[in-house]
């Protein structure tokens, strides 16, 4: 018969396996800070120098690519450091759940841009980004859920007050990411 401590260890191992096989926990907090910084830099650039729509869309696309690249790169490194795998069934599920609403929002933003509904571009992307985070939160750190809610709130406010779009961008993609990233960095490490 097994000893008590052995049984306790078994149960601990079972809990850990159940958690790790349903949630991707190697999401890097630092990448949130970098994404926020990049978004703020983009917003500053837009505010100072840019007044045509297409250059603005270009800046937004570059910010998105830089953020995603760092998020993937740092999360892969974090998974390696924790001696875990990055490309698992659960990380695939998380990405799929993230990208369906995100791509929908991106497509909508482009359609609005082409139709000249410029004031809807930033809020719609904020709202769909928030929905994407909430959707993905079931498969990763639960805190993402609240980040998603705040992104949606920011998006709705910008829909209501279109003149504040640049502030909405800075808060939604900049400040929220930095605050979230720092909190996660403190709680779960780099």
């Amino acid at each position: 018969m097994k000893t008590e401590s052995n049984t306790q260890e078994d149960i601990k191992a079972i809990r850990k396996l159940m958690e790790e096989s349903t949630r991707f926990l190697s999401l890097s907090g630092l990448s949130g800070v970098i994404a926020g910084g990049t978004a703020l830099a983009g917003a500053l650039l837009a505010w100072l120098f840019i007044d045509d729509t297409w250059s603005l869309a270009g800046v937004a696309a570059i910010v998105l690519v830089i953020s995603l690249t760092f998020a993937c790169f740092l999360s892969i490194k974090k998974a390696k450091r924790q001696k875990k795998h990055f490309w698992t069934p659960v990380s695939r599920k998380m990405l799929l759940n993230l990208f369906i609403p995100l791509a929908t929002g991106g497509a909508l933003a482009i359609i609005f841009l082409l139709q000249g509904n410029l004031q809807l571009v930033v809020p719609v992307f904020l709202i769909f980004y928030g929905l994407a985070l909430i959707n993905a939160s079931k498969f990763t750190l639960g805190e993402i859920f609240y980040l998603g809610l705040l992104e949606i709130a920011t998006g709705l406010l910008v829909t209501l007050f279109p003149d504040l779009w640049l502030i909405g961008w800075s808060v939604g993609f900049g400040v929220l990411h930095i605050v979230y990233g720092l909190l996660m960095y403190g709680k779960y490490g780099k």
Binding site: T7, Q8, I11, I14, L17, M18, S21, T22, P89
Partner: protein
């Protein structure tokens, strides 16, 4: 004491099998390679435990081809889920009562 361990299932008396059942009860299906990586086991070791669980009717095997490569995935059967949850309860009772 006999009462306490009566609900422990002999089939799950191995950490590897506990691990397999843990992953399969919270995931609809899980493929062989991912299971191997999650549990950090060798092919042979994992395969023999999977076979044993399959023989007892605790898990079911689904073989298919993805990009012309064979892909084997596993899922817990109703019987397996019930037996595993009973086993876990028995383990927890064991800790509480000793």
């Amino acid at each position: 004491m006999k009462d306490l361990i009566a609900h422990l299932n002999k089939v799950f008396e191995s950490r590897v099998r506990l691990g397999i059942m843990s992953v399969l009860t919270v995931n609809q299906t899980y493929d062989f390679k991912s299971l191997k990586e999650t549990l950090d086991l060798t092919d042979g070791n994992l395969a023999s435990h999977l076979k044993a669980l399959e023989k007892e009717g605790m898990i079911a095997v689904e073989k298919q081809f993805i990009d012309r490569k064979p892909n084997t995935s596993y899922r817990a059967t109703e019987k397996g889920r019930a037996a595993f949850s009973e086993h876990i309860s028995a383990l927890e009772n064991l800790i509480r009562d000793t």
